[in-house]
Amino acid sequence: MGITISNISKSYGEITALSDISFDVKPGELFGLIGPDGAGKTTLFRILTTLLIADNGQATVAGYDVLNDYKSIRNSVGYMPGRFSLYQDLTVEENLNFFATIFGTTIEENYDLVKDIYVQIEPFKNRRAGKLSGGMKQKLALSCALIHKPKVLFLDEPTTGVDPVSRKEFWEMLKRLQKKGITILVSTPYMDEAALCDRIALIQDGNILEIDTPNAIVSHFPKPLYNISAHNMYNLIESLTNYEHTYSIFPFGEFVHYTDKRDPIDKASLKTYLEFQGLTDIKIEKTQPTIEDTFMELAK
């Protein structure tokens, strides 16, 4: 009842959107597709939701072939496109009612499934969807995608443009939905959300870089990672870029994530070098790599 993808390729004219992608999503799994804009996430979603036909390869969703059984898939999946795609001139309640009706069900019948989400927007049920805030819109869109009790849920960047609090709530909801046995494939450009998935696939330029659990992916990070900070961020990055032993640097909030070509690292000489470059308040500490670090490393 999950998703299988084998050797899927898709190109738009000269541009390759997906090249030879294969992976499986197990039934009941919360699977994350992590990658920057233009990585091919939306194309993959559209192929799986039968909106596009792949140039090569096969895929099944909930046991149905995306090409031959497209009607069955359209009956049994929930899809939330990346762009807000509800009727802006219809109220919250009318939107939900409409999507329930076209799937041959009613709000009452599946209310328990959407209840957690819908109670939050219910106070605004007579407001036009176009006048809702970003987070509310996403909650409504999720309710609409869920109202027919889909077996598989496709969420294309559901939290893009949503405030941090709403994002957190949204992921808590996904966790609860997963417990109800729904397979969820979600894409996001936010690396911090990746850690909340059971497994993730890192995708860039139409290629899968790695597929594993978030913890395993982090543990694959090849080198010890250091947080370096100094009083002048710009100067620090400049100096590290020119340092002969630098393997990689990557600005990360108030720190620079740094790896060294040498193993083990010579902390003292690095500090001396930075001081020589006129930097003060230098701190060098070992730290745990994040998914973002892994992604940057793999994407090199």
Binding site: L51, L52, K71, P81, F84, L86, Y87, D89, I102, F103
Partner: protein, 368 residues
């Protein structure tokens, strides 16, 4: 069925919440019919003319009185010499000058022939020829009255009579045309826009990934517009009957059936347009340029098809509006039954089936 009703209800929400479309939908037909009925007219009423009566006798006086009595003309000036004709035209005071020769009455009785000159301002050629026709008919009538008691052998007097629109009321001609244009525009443009709107807003993506079948989406989309267009047709017919006194000589029922057929033809065209355009703007441009102009220019609404160059006459055959105008004129003005418009009806029916067939074939069940 429940799904279909749900879909149609959603469409009505869209229509009634979009105040601008609603205004176009119902304001335009009323505005157009009133505009064409009152302002744009081929008739002449109270045209200002001047008289140069060099005869000044009984006969000329009688004719002048007849002209003055007609509602078509009002005599605003009596001039004395020929030289002032030009200046009066230049001032633009009058559209025509009627000049009686010297001894008009005498010549008429003795020579059996007298001359009267009708000078018209032909800067507006249609107006000029209409004026001279009207004046000629007044003169002819006077001539007939004179001859009534005198028998002249072998005289051929042509008697022309306008049938179906005896008073040459232009509104009779415009009503079928306006009705056609409105129905075409409302049906085709509104449906094509409402379908492309779903594409533009991205909601089509969700509708595709749902159990709704393509024909359910399409019929659900056009159904409200069939309903609204019928209301429009009724409003236009009522306005023409009660405001302009246009007669409906034929069966109202037949007129209704034919209108519904033409509405469906236009809706099918609208669906066709929506399958080839990606945005509402494109859909609107195609509807306006591709449908409005041919419907107005090539359907025989304003310009008679018989006086068009041959290539245009051939093209006019593929304009659905041409056939509908023939049908409406036939039913409203001539009062004919289905037997006489069978050919036109069948042509419309075939066109409709063709449009629907092509749109179903072109309707995309996926995004590309």
């Amino acid at each position: 069925m429940k799904r279909f009703i749900g879909f149609v209800r959603k469409e009505f929400y869209h229509i009634f919440r979009d105040k601008r479309s609603l205004f176009i939908l119902f304001g335009m037909p009323i505005a157009q019919i009133l505009l064409f009925g009152f302002a744009i007219t081929n008739e002449i009423n109270n045209v200002d003319i001047a008289i140069l009566d060099q005869a000044n006798d009984v006969a000329s006086k009688e004719i002048i009185n007849k002209i003055a009595a007609s509602k078509h003309f009002s005599i605003v000036d009596i001039i004395q010499q020929e030289s002032s004709i030009e200046s009066i035209f230049k001032k633009g005071k009058v559209k025509a000058v009627l000049q009686f020769e010297n001894n008009f009455g005498n010549n008429l009785i003795k020579e059996k022939q007298a001359n009267v000159q009708v000078l018209t301002d032909a800067t507006d050629p249609n107006m000029a020829s209409t004026i001279s026709n009207y004046i000629s008919s007044i003169l002819k009538k006077y001539q007939q009255e004179l001859n009534e008691n005198i028998s002249i052998d072998y005289q051929i007097i042509p008697q022309s009579r306008m049938v179906y629109n005896a008073e040459l009321k232009s509104v009779y001609m415009f009503v079928p045309g306006v009705m056609t244009v409105i129905l075409m525009l409302v049906s085709a443009m509104m449906t094509s826009i409402s379908i492309t709107r779903e594409k533009e807003q991205g909601t089509m993506e969700i509708l595709l990934v749902s159990p709704l079948k393509p024909f359910q989406v399409i019929i659900g989309k056009v159904f409200p517009y069939i309903f609204l267009s019928v209301i429009n047709a009724v409003v236009i017919v009522l306005l023409s009957i009660f405001v302009f006194n246009v007669p409906v000589n034929g069966s109202l029922f037949l007129l209704g059936i034919e209108s519904v057929l033409f509405i469906i033809t236009s809706l099918a065209l609208g669906i066709l347009i929506s399958t080839i355009s990606a945005t509402q703007q494109t859909a609107m441009m195609i509807s306006l340029m591709g449908l409005m102009l041919p419907t107005i220019l090539l359907s025989g609404f304003i310009f008679p098809i018989s006086s068009m160059p041959l290539p245009l006459q051939v093209i006019s055959n593929i304009i659905p509006a041409k056939w509908f105008i023939i049908i409406v004129k036939g039913i409203m003005l001539k009062g004919i039954g289905i037997g006489f418009v069978l050919k036109e009806t069948l042509i419309l029916l075939l066109m409709t089936l063709l449009f629907i067939g092509v749109s179903v074939k072109k309707y995309k069940i996926r995004l590309e």
